[in-house]
Symmetry: C2
Subunit: 485 residues, 2 copies
């Protein structure tokens, strides 16, 4: 914000000069990052400050993520060992820990005190207990108590997401009284969007958006403005995924958080939820791709190798199981090599169809579109879809396989027809199995209390590989070999 107001018709946002910092896709431009790195290498504090002082905290955090470890260290040194609190609130995971480790505990404590409780909790929650205690010991007593209380709530609960700063009003206050209070109040949140109306026991009974408050006359009693139907009470122990669901389902901007006596003790705002929704879907997506949740581009090579290893090891195990099924039929393959050529097609189609169903089901579970009410219907539907696609691809692939087998001179017309039928039947059975596995596995995992996104993909493709190989090779051995036995 400029200190001296320019003449009215000269008012312009300060954007144009910033543009050089950003590439077309609005991320920091390569040239900009390079000039920052040059300034860091030259330990040129002046140039560094000139380059970065107009940067938004979120972009500054991105910049830190793009630097190499040693560059990041010189950045922290150049900034006198203190990264501003708003930048810290934008860092995440390993990067945040690394930066906090590099800062003096007293500087971290100063940053923590400046932030609203939700952001301060976010900074502290991933540190080890000793470090937490060291930083908290340096904070004023009231902040220390509030933060200790926040950290006592379970991870991923509403208690961790909420801030203790909010604005509440009894039902009988007028709009004028409320505005006067806001002007004189000391401990208001940085930003808030609603007034929570509470009863004498401090239980929230309704909320009033600030825009509604502003549209009303000073004499209006808040109770006449309040809406109790669109408000949702969030118990402090509620899981953060449930909180996100409430925000999305009811288009909420903020919610009151209550303790077990239904007393108002905090507030959750939509910006924290946007962040969290992104993280949750992000984790689901990585899990479906067989990657551990808290991995990212800023991990080292060794961390990445380790985090990918476990899923690859599990996959090795399931691949070996599937190959043992193949080994059962080695005699058949020895006689008809075409089976080895065709078997991956049957397995691969099953794997793909299973993954399709699985993906839709995992998403539907996450968005709560798939519930106990419609589960049976959806299972039936997916089985039907699997069967129908099985029939379609059975016809296509059965014909292709028969023609190819006959044309390449491996067998007689009669054998070719039988091979085509075997491929077709195996395809139908495997796509049916894929449809059923794709829905039953994630539903089963969820009912068993596991995260359906995490292990489903491995289970489903194992099932389709094994069913695919077993049915195809088994049928082939039964139908094509009897002549030989």
């Amino acid at each position: 914000m400029s200190e001296i107001a320019p003449a009215e018709n000269e008012l312009r946002p300060e954007e144009p000069e910033d543009d050089a910092q950003f590439a077309d896709d609005r991320t920091l431009s390569t040239e900009f990052v390079r000039s920052v790195v040059d300034a860091l290498d030259a330990e040129d504090a002046e140039t560094f400050k000139g380059l970065t002082e107009e940067l938004h905290a979120a972009d500054f955090a991105d910049l830190m993520g793009l630097l190499r470890d040693d560059e990041r260290e010189s950045l922290i040194r150049l900034m006198g060992g203190a990264i501003p609190s708003d930048v810290l609130a934008e860092l995440d995971g390993d990067l945040l820990e690394e930066v906090i480790d590099a800062m003096e505990p007293s500087k971290v404590a100063e940053a923590v005190v400046e932030l609203d409780t939700d952001d301060a909790t976010f900074l502290l929650e991933d540190l080890d207990e000793e470090k937490q205690a060291e930083i908290l010991a340096l904070a004023p007593i009231e902040d220390r108590l509030a933060l200790r209380a926040a950290l006592d709530f379970e991870e991923e609960s509403a208690g961790r997401l909420m801030q203790r700063e909010f604005f509440a009003s009894p039902a009988f206050w007028t709009v004028g009284q409320i505005i006067d209070r806001m002007r004189s109040a000391e401990e208001l949140p940085d930003r808030f969007y609603e007034v929570f109306v509470v009863d004498p026991a401090f239980k929230p009974v309704g909320s009033v958006p600030l825009s509604t408050l502003l549209k009303a006359s000073r004499e209006t009693v808040i109770e006449d403005l309040m809406n109790s139907r669109d408000m949702r009470l969030v118990p402090v122990t509620m899981d953060q995924e449930e909180v996100a669901y409430l925000f999305e389902q009811y288009n909420l901007i903020s919610t009151p958080v209550v303790d077990d006596a239904d007393r108002l003790i905090g507030m959750i705002t939509v910006d924290d939820v946007v962040e969290m929704v992104r993280e949750e879907t992000h984790e689901d997506m990585l899990a479906l791709g067989g990657v551990e949740a808290d991995t990212g581009l800023s991990d080292t090579v060794i961390e990445t190798v380790r985090s990918r290893f476990s899923w690859l090891a599990i996959n090795l195990g399931t691949a070996i199981m599937a190959s043992l099924v193949i080994a059962l039929f080695d005699a058949a393959i020895g006689q008809i090599v075409a089976l080895a050529v065709l078997m991956p097609i049957v397995a691969s189609m099953g794997g793909n169809a299973g993954t399709q169903t699985l993906t839709v089901v995992v998403r539907s579970l996450a968005t709560k579109d798939l519930t106990a009410t419609n589960a049976a219907r959806v299972v039936f539907r997916e089985a039907t879809v699997g069967f129908l696609n099985g029939v379609i691809f059975a016809v296509i692939m059965g014909m292709l396989a028969g023609v190819w087998y006959f044309a390449s001179g491996w067998g007689t017309e009669n054998e070719a027809i039988r091979l085509g039928i075997v491929v077709g039947v195996a395809m139908i059975i495997n796509l049916l199995a894929a449809g059923l596995a794709g829905i039953l596995v994630p539903i089963g995992l969820q009912r068993a209390g596991a995260d359906p996104a995490v292990a489903s993909a491995v289970f489903v493709t194992t099932i389709t590989d094994i069913v695919g190989f077993f049915v195809f090779l088994g049928l082939a051995a039964a139908v094509l070999l009897p002549a030989a036995s």
Copy 2:
């Protein structure tokens, strides 16, 4: 909202009695849905109304999604052919079209007029032109013009997301003046969170959150409160993904939308963005799983078969390509059947490693953590990770394969060692290929202007299948067969 205010100490939200409608996971309970269906089957309008009148619009929309087609038709009939506008705004895709088709155009027009422009546009945008025109013709002239203008913007652009209702102030107004205007203004949005400060050319130069406005004294000039650094101007043509990025990156609650002369013409609010972020990630996730974007549980069996068919057909094509590679080496497989047993393991490990890298890369592109600035470094890193995991699994699998081959009496010790080495080398090469394909394919697709989530998975697994089969069987033929040739 209750019309008659209860005595102060009796104030209670109306929640308790609603609870029977919901299951533990906060979705509509099976019992509740069943009693609604019973009321619909009995055409009992009274009971139906009693059951549903307390329902939030979002839950009512969910209820409609859980009904069978014929039940939904009787619901619409029972409601006199008109679904309330707030429920319509919560429906999506096929369901929305179906419901609008079942309503009288005049009733739809009434609903459209009640909504803010963004929600009204959402209702109309997926209808065919004829239907759109029919409904618009029934709306008052000013709504019709506003909606036509909104629909003229490109799909998925800021113009479609924005609402034309907002509150703007010149820089010299005082807080008192602004509050007075708000109290008397007629065309304010239902809800808004910020005042946009504009210069005489109506260009936004800063914004003031309502909470900041409320904390300030009546005499404060708005210019002294405004923040021009945290505000981001959104051009009306901006792609919605870019809009979402701005909201997430800068924790925005609302943004001013401007035309090409930078004049303020609308506002986008965070609730629309939450919805959209969810949809975009949802689509990415489905795309990675090989499912078309706008498919869901409410599609019919035939629609689902059709939507899954195209990806399965593409997969059939790539599976056939891979099997042609196997066919090249049919002589080798005929001599050493163990190759047929082992080859799916090499291919499957490659496919999984490729999918891991791919998933991380697609996510990093979506969150803009992967940019031109760090692309080269990330490519090198993924290749290294692939190589290292390749070495680890080469040792494990090479040893297993050798031991198994020898133990099952298929070959001599010397042949078993050579087979182990072939498996190991093929594993290293395929995991290296997987790492490279997993990053280069999505980056290449994005640079070519395609959506990296959509086609990447098929490309990557095709590459790892072909490389896996070719390298393993080719090496085996070269190393193990010379004795025979």
